[in-house]
Symmetry: C2
Subunit: 200 residues, 2 copies
DNA sequence: CGGCAAGTAAACCGACCGGTATATCTACTC
DNA sequence: GAGTAGATATACCGGTCGGTTTACTTGCCG
């Protein structure tokens, strides 16, 4: 299984139960409502934790935002690799297209409001915000993963093809969350197949 | 010149000078900082207007947000149609690809932080927010415009092709703002050309 | 047994949130 | 010249923002 530069992500190992609860509730609160719209008082109340504990564990709201994105990224990568590397041993061409199947199930299950990282970027214009590396890291991982899968197919110009597939991928996420195109992800997969076959 | 369902947008005709100043400054404030991050006091101060005047003219911050997006949409459509329908009379295939040239110049000039409508959607989870129609309207217009251009080429399955181009379009916007792919929009245009030529 | 980390409860900080109040001034129009 | 629309200035509303503080309790571990 190819995990890419997952080593760039440092997950602190032992979280206290209260801290764990905080990170569990912010996943839903931040994704559903946006980051600015959720105050620390709401987080503390929803997690059944006092603000004192919250600040003792994390130090700042920004740190919680960073952890929120890092943990979502871990779940996302596990989902994608789980689908792509699933039981049956598929050929490299099929595995590229499985990326879009992974996206489709992710959208239905966890992503109805679009990409959490794109949404977070919209709310965090500061280039020095501690959560920025998590945002850039997720996108870079998807691109790198696509590049690897494309390279395995032996396609011509794999970097350029991977970039095109990446854009179809991100565009399908936007289109699906906006509900403006029916069957957006399936359509993106069909387009990806065309581009892929033309490069083989 | 084909303007699509622009009639759906009602622009009140006579704005007072103070109101005009408000809408001018929020364009930059909202896009650069996000919507929640900009308070009405900041808007009033930046426009050189009192909060009283602001509320007399617009009634609520949400109404200002709606107008912000509607006015940006007007500028965006004018930019796109201006590029696509420019002086030289191009063929339908070329005009489809000009959409991506329009996007490229727009990104450089006005859109470094990504699509204002996607960003706004990230901050406005309420389906009943008064700005929601402006967001849906912009995306629908782009899709409809692409459909019309594709139809003119005589391509097979124009609706499906337009949907694929739409996703490349949105994905290129995301990729360009994230700066993760070099030459994102140009790459998307190349992929669009491939899909288009395969359907002719 | 002593110490410490983790937790609760609740008040407090200055600043800002969206929105409203009263009162005054100016400029244009019937 | 009276009326009115648009603007000004300024103070205020209750509530929330991110963040801090003090005081006390709990449970584990050496």
């Amino acid at each position: 299984m190819w995990w890419g530069r997952v080593g760039a992500m440092t997950e602190q190992p032992a979280l206290t139960p209260a801290a764990e609860r905080v990170l569990e509730v912010v996943e839903k609160l931040f994704y559903d409502n946006g980051i600015h719209a959720v105050g620390v008082d709401m987080i503390a109340a929803e997690a059944g934790v006092t603000k004192k504990t919250l600040y003792d564990r994390f130090g700042s709201k920004d740190a919680i935002v960073r952890l929120y994105l890092e943990r979502r990224d871990v779940r996302w990568r596990a989902h994608v690799t789980g689908v792509v590397e699933q039981s049956g041993r598929f050929g490299p061409r099929r595995r590229v297209l499985l990326m879009f199947d992974a996206l489709e199930s992710w959208m239905a299950a966890e992503n109805p409001r679009g990409c959490a990282f794109v949404n977070a970027l919209a709310e965090l214009p500061d280039p020095d915000h501690p959560a920025r590396p998590a945002i850039a890291g997720e996108k870079q991982w998807v691109l790198d993963y696509l590049r690897q899968l494309v390279r395995d197919t032996g396609a011509r110009n794999p970097r350029k093809l991977a970039a095109s597939l990446f854009m179809l991928f991100e565009g399908a996420t936007v289109a699906a969350s906006l509900d403006v195109v029916a069957g957006a992800v399936a359509g993106a997969r069909d387009a990806a197949r065309q581009l892929l076959d033309a490069a083989l």
